[in-house]
């Protein structure tokens, strides 16, 4: 403490006030999300109980025979702790060890998928079976204390076939991220390395496009997409497609809507890569494309990953475009949840809608956990330099 100058030292009231404010903010930020997660695991009576403790401990759920004992909780927490620990230490070592040189990224994809599958298998199938045998033996330690049921998740994912919406979301977001990064990196590089007037005006126009409300654009697409078979028939002949309801058309639309933001962000990342790097490659006889492919691409990944995260968020979170341009058969997850509004008559329906909402949020939660640093750097890159 003594190395802090006296004038910089803070009075107790200020320190306390700042800490209290921060604690309040964290509570405020996490509470709604935490609460819907708790609600989704309870029977409807508990989920909308008057007392918050009833919601957390779930007496009605417990009475119905669904609950966790102290043993379950302890074992579960230990398993989760080691899962995270192994994922951070053991998994990266093994991936680097086993993957052939130059294809580490493929090793990562296979490793992560295998690890996730193993975890799901162990945590949701092996563990409950083992604990089911152990609980009755242990007496008081084996009695359920925390009501918890996964029945709503079952009815959402299995009975209501939410997995189809999940697959559609996967298709749309995957497509948007891939295409928008491919197109955006090229444009961002071109814009960062060209000091011409045209580059400046392109960026300004992109800024104007970024401000446009999406409904304005959709008002332009919708009539054309619905009648596209007739409009395209003179060009494409009999098998001209109706673009309305096509995930590919939605991918193209979302990529374009996202393009202004993507090129601004990637441009600011490319400006941070020193110009001397590609000038050296050019002196050695590379063309611009060769310099881009062999010199810039190996060092551009941090920026590309960050921009990809934001493209992912835009496509994954979108409601307006997907709900208007896709029909009921290939709806993505976020608009599909609106379908629950119309059915939401009983409290069971409400808790099912909550479970669907939590299912949509869970991947985002993982995303922040893994990529927190990239998200923060992406947010500040646009502001501090642009």
């Amino acid at each position: 403490m003594s190395d802090i100058p006296r004038a910089m030292r803070q009075p107790f009231a200020l320190k306390f006030g700042s800490a209290a404010f921060l604690a309040f903010w964290c509570l405020l930020a996490a509470f709604p999300i935490f609460w819907i997660a708790v609600m989704s695991f309870k029977s409807p009576v508990d989920a909308f109980a008057a007392s918050p403790f009833d919601v957390i401990f779930g007496p009605a759920t417990r009475a119905a025979g669904d609950g966790l004992s102290i043993l379950d909780i302890v074992v579960g927490v230990v398993v989760l702790f080691y899962t995270v620990k192994l994922a951070l230490g053991w998994l990266p070592r093994k991936v680097v060890e086993w993957a052939p040189g130059g294809q580490v990224w493929a090793g990562w994809i296979i490793g992560v998928i295998g690890y996730a599958l193993g975890f799901v298998l162990f945590f949701f199938f092996v563990l409950p079976a083992v604990l089911g045998v152990l609980n009755p033996i242990l007496g008081p330690l084996g009695n359920p204390v925390l009501g918890l049921t996964t029945i709503h998740y079952q009815s959402v994912w299995v009975d209501n076939q939410f997995y189809q919406n999940f697959l559609n979301s996967l298709l749309v977001t995957g497509g948007v991220v891939t295409v928008s990064l491919t197109v955006g990196t090229l444009a961002g590089y071109g814009l960062a390395r060209s000091g011409s007037n045209i580059a400046f005006w392109l960026l300004i126009i992109a800024l104007i496009f970024r401000a446009l409300p999406h409904s304005v654009l959709v008002a332009g697409y919708l009539p054309v997409f619905i009648n596209s078979a007739e409009i395209l028939r003179p060009i494409l002949g009999e098998n001209a497609p109706t673009l309305y309801g096509q995930p590919l058309a939605v991918i193209a639309v979302l990529v374009s809507i996202n393009q202004p933001f993507t090129i601004w962000m990637l441009r600011s990342f490319f400006q941070n890569i020193p110009n001397e790097l590609d000038e050296a490659a050019r002196v050695d006889g590379c063309t611009h494309f060769q310099a881009f492919r062999w010199v810039i691409m190996p060092v551009m990944w941090p920026g590309v990953i960050t921009t990809g995260l934001f493209s992912f968020l835009l496509a994954y979170n979108d409601f307006l475009v997907t709900s208007l341009l896709l029909d009921a058969t290939n709806q993505t997850m976020v608009p599909a949840i609106a379908g629950y509004f119309n059915r939401e008559t009983t409290t069971t329906d409400q808790v099912e809608a909550v479970a669907a909402a939590v299912s949509i949020t869970a991947p985002l939660f993982l995303l922040v956990m893994v990529f927190q640093r990239q998200i923060v750097s992406g947010l500040t890159a646009g502001a501090v330099k642009g």
Binding site: A29, M39, S194, A211, S215
Partner: protein, 342 residues
């Protein structure tokens, strides 16, 4: 870089933006002046039923759409109608009557004006709140122990990253009829509370949601800005006897000013497009926004019809607001460009 190479790099992106952003804008502009509707004809049908002495006959006149003999589709015509779609959206005569007789509720009966009022109010109220809350969190985190900062940033990012519709739903479920916070408030105030039965409580929740959702974004940017505050300037301010408040007012805030302008601009653009909250809070019966108005015209009604021309007109009217918002920004960028600082 030569112009030709530049075009090769930028081409695909430019093509996409022209095809999917510029072209739709032109088509929306044109569509707002014309109406496509099915051709109808009136058909006179006489139905007779047996009666005593003579038949009872009734003649009914029905309007039915003309159907193309070959394709089996409804025949449509497109005609230029001038400002008709705009008049249907704006309802200028009714609005003017309401204004002349100082009938505020009358004006708010017209969807467009109600949407405009809410959108502008929403944008202007959330702006200072987002900047204020974001700055307060950034200062508090900067004041906290280093080991706590990572977890705090993680928790703070959650409201920002969550799907807007889901985020507003999560708050909706806290305040719905038998939600936990409604129950708490009812027990505390000892009266019945229905948060979603009148407009002003819904608006309050929407304002809260938006600040909750965007403040983390402002916080992260301000926090990054705080790391680059010049320590020498701060120290000389202390030597000169500046109090804590003076240092904040005269050193830190001027340093953060470009960031405040940046956040204000992004926030103005984004909150002018307010839409997901209306879906999440199911507010459409009480409160609507400009973007929701267009969405509503575009969505198929019970008969499967979509009001494209009115949607185009309301989209163009929404655009006017964006243009007004962007003019100061563009003028500034143009000045910077001319000044050669670029």
């Amino acid at each position: 870089m030569k112009f030709k190479t530049f075009i090769w790099f930028v081409g695909p992106s430019l093509f996409l933006m022209l095809l999917f952003i510029a072209a739709p804008l032109v088509s929306v502009f044109l569509d707002s002046f014309r109406i496509t509707q099915p051709v109808v004809q009136t058909v006179e049908t006489e139905t007779c039923s047996a009666g005593f002495l003579q038949q009872t006959c009734t003649t009914t006149i029905n309007t039915v759409p003309v159907i193309d003999e070959e394709t089996g589709r409804v025949v449509t015509t497109t005609e230029w109608v001038g400002w008709l779609s705009y008049e249907r959206v704006l309802e200028p005569r009714r609005a003017w009557d309401a204004i002349r007789s100082f009938d505020y509720n009358g004006l708010m009966q017209i969807d467009f004006w109600a949407a405009l009022r809410f959108t502008v109010m929403f944008t202007l109220v959330t702006l200072p709140l987002v900047i204020g809350v974001g700055l307060a969190i950034a200062l508090a985190v900067n004041n906290a122990a280093k080991s706590l900062r990572g977890p705090i940033i993680f928790v703070s990012l959650l409201p920002f990253i969550i799907t807007p519709v889901i985020g507003s739903l999560s708050i909706y479920w806290l305040f719905v009829g038998d939600g936990i916070l409604t129950r708490g408030l009812e027990a505390w105030l000892d009266r019945d509370i229905a948060m979603f039965a009148q407009a002003w409580t819904i608006e309050l929740l929407m304002l809260f949601y938006r600040v909750w959702h965007v403040a983390p974004f402002a916080f992260v940017i301000f926090y990054a800005g705080l790391q680059t505050v010049n320590q020498d300037t701060l120290e000389s301010a202390i030597i000169d006897g500046a109090s804590r408040w003076d240092r904040l007012r005269y050193v830190i805030i001027p340093h953060l000013m470009p960031l405040i302008v940046f956040i204000a601009l992004i926030h103005l653009m984004d909150s002018y497009r307010v839409f997901d909250e209306i879906v999440g809070f199911r507010a459409q019966a009480y409160v609507i926004s400009l973007q929701w108005l267009t969405f509503d015209f575009l969505a198929a009604d019970d008969a499967g019809n979509r009001a494209f021309s009115r949607a185009s007109a309301s989209a163009m009217l929404t655009m006017i607001g964006i243009v007004i918002l962007l003019i100061p920004l563009l003028r500034r960028t143009w000045r910077d460009h001319k000044g050669g600082s670029h």
